[in-house]
């Protein structure tokens, strides 16, 4: 893959990368950190990518690791906004803040498969590779996660 192709494919995935980062992190600045670090890491590791067809899943995996690095920083920093407050702070209307908060309330093990599948359009086998889980587990988590999400939104409305 040439540098130009790499840049082009990363740009094509910008929205997908941002949404995944935003689902895991608390501020736009943190999302910027994660995306930047993921791009740096992906470029360095590109020679280790064996199949270019797997680029999207591979980059998502790197992004998840970059997001987790940022999350680890949360443990070291004090005085952070609570998650819900941070979400309200970062996303002004017209975005669906209730759905976003419900998603953030879901445990990550449900949230990530749902977002990767329903928002980023990755197939179950690809998600299984990204998250290093059996396909059956991915399917189960998507199914179970959607149920939990529904309940959370109903509670919100109720």
């Amino acid at each position: 893959m040439t540098e130009q192709e790499f840049d082009s494919r990363v740009r094509q995935m910008e929205g997908k990368m941002y949404r995944i980062a935003r689902s895991m992190l608390r501020s736009e600045s943190d999302c910027g950190d994660a995306l930047q670090n993921a791009v740096f890491a992906a470029w360095r590791k590109l020679p280790s990518l064996r199949e270019e067809a797997q680029f999207e899943a591979w980059l998502m995996r790197i992004l998840l690791n970059a997001c987790r690095d940022v999350q680890r920083g949360y443990l070291r920093r004090k005085g952070e906004l609570p998650m819900e407050e941070a979400l309200h702070a970062a996303s002004a209307p017209p975005w669906d803040v209730d759905l976003q908060i419900a998603l953030q309330t879901l445990p990550e093990k449900f949230r990530l498969p749902i977002l990767l599948h329903h928002m980023n359009g990755l197939s179950v086998p690809v998600i299984a590779r990204v998250l290093r889980l059996p396909q059956s587990t991915v399917k189960g988590r998507i199914r179970e996660g959607l149920k939990k999400l529904r309940r959370l939104l109903e509670e919100e409305e109720g």
């Binding site: 130009q4 840049d7 082009s8 494919r9 990363v10 740009r11 094509q12 910008e14 929205g15 997908k16 990368m17 941002y18 949404r19 980062a21 935003r22 689902s23 501020s27 736009e28 600045s29 999302c31 910027g32 950190d33 995306l35 930047q36 670090n37 791009v39 740096f40 890491a41 470029w43 360095r44 590791k45 020679p47 280790s48 906004l81 941070a86 309200h88 702070a89 970062a90 996303s91 002004a92 017209p94 975005w95 669906d96 759905l99 976003q100 998603l103 990550e108 093990k109 749902i114 977002l115 329903h118 928002m119 290093r132 959607l146 999400l149 529904r150």
Partner: protein, 450 residues
């Protein structure tokens, strides 16, 4: 399908994230080792520079230690002793560039510069072109002034906000060659200026920032940039003329608040496939200097010549030789261990017990990072410079492969008698019990330094 509209659950990619991604793509060939530190340091330098605006600047405020660690007071004695005076100055098209300091540690060369636009009403863009040592081109791993606008009214968050014609920065190069004696160097910068009048076409200039960004600290960055743009004399499109095509037709060069050049959609389609589509919710924009055809023109190339003493690095450099360590599922080989006042570098290779796919995957599952500590397992007293780690398989041409774990950190404030080197061996997972296990069960190696 499902009943949820996940596409509405998150805001569109905001300019700050889009800008970071574009910046990362531009800078991906550089080592970001000092990026975070430099941002903080440059912010400090900016504050100092604002205080002396209009006056001659003091060399100590813009020296290499300021860019590396935030000032002499934060540097180790060994790092201070490593600084070489390499004064050099050159100018052209009303841009003056001064080389203010250098540190070479046998692996890495760090240089600091100041840049001043003597014609601040005419905004300029200064870009590092090449650095050569003894006549040969060397790759730059990190530079803090990538695409430096002078005066810089656009920057926020990622880099410091230097709102005046005088700016500065540093670069560092990880050198592949061993140098001895006096080394002759040249750094060449390119100056570009806009061909047409620039206009800032961005709704961020008109947002009610109190509503959009309730976080006070974050909002302050945007307010600062907004104020700087308003005071810069640049033309600002009003909220009813956000159409990029209109400004292009009127003969302007439209940019957004991050200084990305905005394109008309039709113009953008002509450039495809060289540019990917705009990000989700973003306008077509680009920032690659070489492709700003018709919008920026190169007005000058400025070359600074300098020398430094490569032998000076030898005394403070520690390179212990270490033996291989057998593991249950492989062998650890220390490829590189270097401790200098500027850097702490370790590269290990873990060879699988055999060359089967299963053995390789077992290693990948088990070892994903490495930690440096003192001999008692306590954190090292690093200077406040950003480090980075890297891991991945390398395939040799004969089919042999191994896992590489590389860590690169800044220098240390105080040098311990020995380094501890440990790496967790447990699968990566979200399971908290396994996470805890990864923290607790590690291979540990003690590396004597004295």
């Amino acid at each position: 399908m499902n009943e949820f509209h996940f596409e509405n659950a998150f805001p569109l990619v905001p300019p700050v994230v889009h800008g970071r991604l574009e910046k990362a793509l531009e800078e991906k060939n550089m080592n970001r080792q000092y990026a975070k530190r430099s941002s903080v340091v440059l912010a400090v330098v900016m504050a100092l520079l604002l205080g002396v605006m209009g006056l001659a600047y003091a060399a100590t405020q813009t020296g290499i230690l300021n860019y590396l660690v935030g000032g002499e007071e934060n540097a180790s004695q060994a790092l201070k002793d490593s600084v070489q005076t390499v004064a050099a100055t050159a100018s052209g098209d009303d841009i003056q560039i001064d080389l203010t300091g250098a540190i070479y540690d046998g692996d890495r060369l760090a240089l600091s510069f100041t840049m001043e636009n003597k014609q601040p009403e005419n905004v300029a863009l200064v870009t590092l072109d090449t650095v050569t040592l003894n006549g040969k081109w060397v790759p730059i791993n990190f530079q803090s002034f990538q695409d430096q606008w002078l005066p810089d009214v656009f920057t926020v968050d990622v880099a410091p906000t230097i709102r005046n014609p005088l700016s500065g920065g540093m670069l560092s190069a990880a050198l592949q060659e061993d140098y001895t004696g006096i080394v002759q160097g040249e750094a060449t910068f390119v100056v570009s200026r806009p061909v047409k009048e620039m206009v800032v076409v961005d709704p961020w200039m008109w947002y009610d920032l109190e509503t959009v960004i309730p976080d006070a600290e974050w909002r302050k960055d945007y307010e600062d940039r907004k104020r700087a743009i308003e005071q810069s004399g640049l033309k600002i499109a009003d909220v009813f003329t956000m159409e990029v095509g209109y400004w292009l037709q009127e003969g302007y060069t439209p940019v957004d608040v991050s200084s990305l050049f905005l394109l008309d959609r039709a113009e953008y389609s002509d450039l495809a496939p060289f540019y990917a589509g705009p990000g989700y919710g973003e306008r077509p924009a680009f920032s690659n200097v070489t492709n700003r055809a018709g919008q920026m023109q190169v007005t000058e190339r400025i070359t600074l010549s300098f020398t430094f003493d490569a032998d000076a690095a030898k005394e403070s450099r520690i390179e212990p030789v270490l033996e291989d360590i057998p593991l249950e599922n492989g062998t650890v080989h220390f490829e590189k261990v270097v401790v200098t006042p500027l850097s702490t570098l370790i590269e290990i290779r873990i060879y699988p017990k055999d060359n089967t796919q299963e053995a390789k995957e077992a290693l990948m599952e088990c070892y994903d990072t490495a930690w440096l500590c003192n001999a008692n397992g306590e954190p090292l007293d690093y200077l406040d410079m950003e480090g980075e780690g890297w891991r991945g398989y390398r395939e040799e041409t004969d089919g042999e492969s191994y896992l590489v774990i590389e860590t690169s950190w800044g220098g240390m404030k105080t040098m311990p008698d020995a380094l501890g080197f440990s790496f967790p061996h447990a699968p990566e997972t979200d399971d908290p019990d396994v996470q805890r296990m990864r923290q607790e069960f590690t291979e540990k190696v003690v590396i004597p330094l004295k």
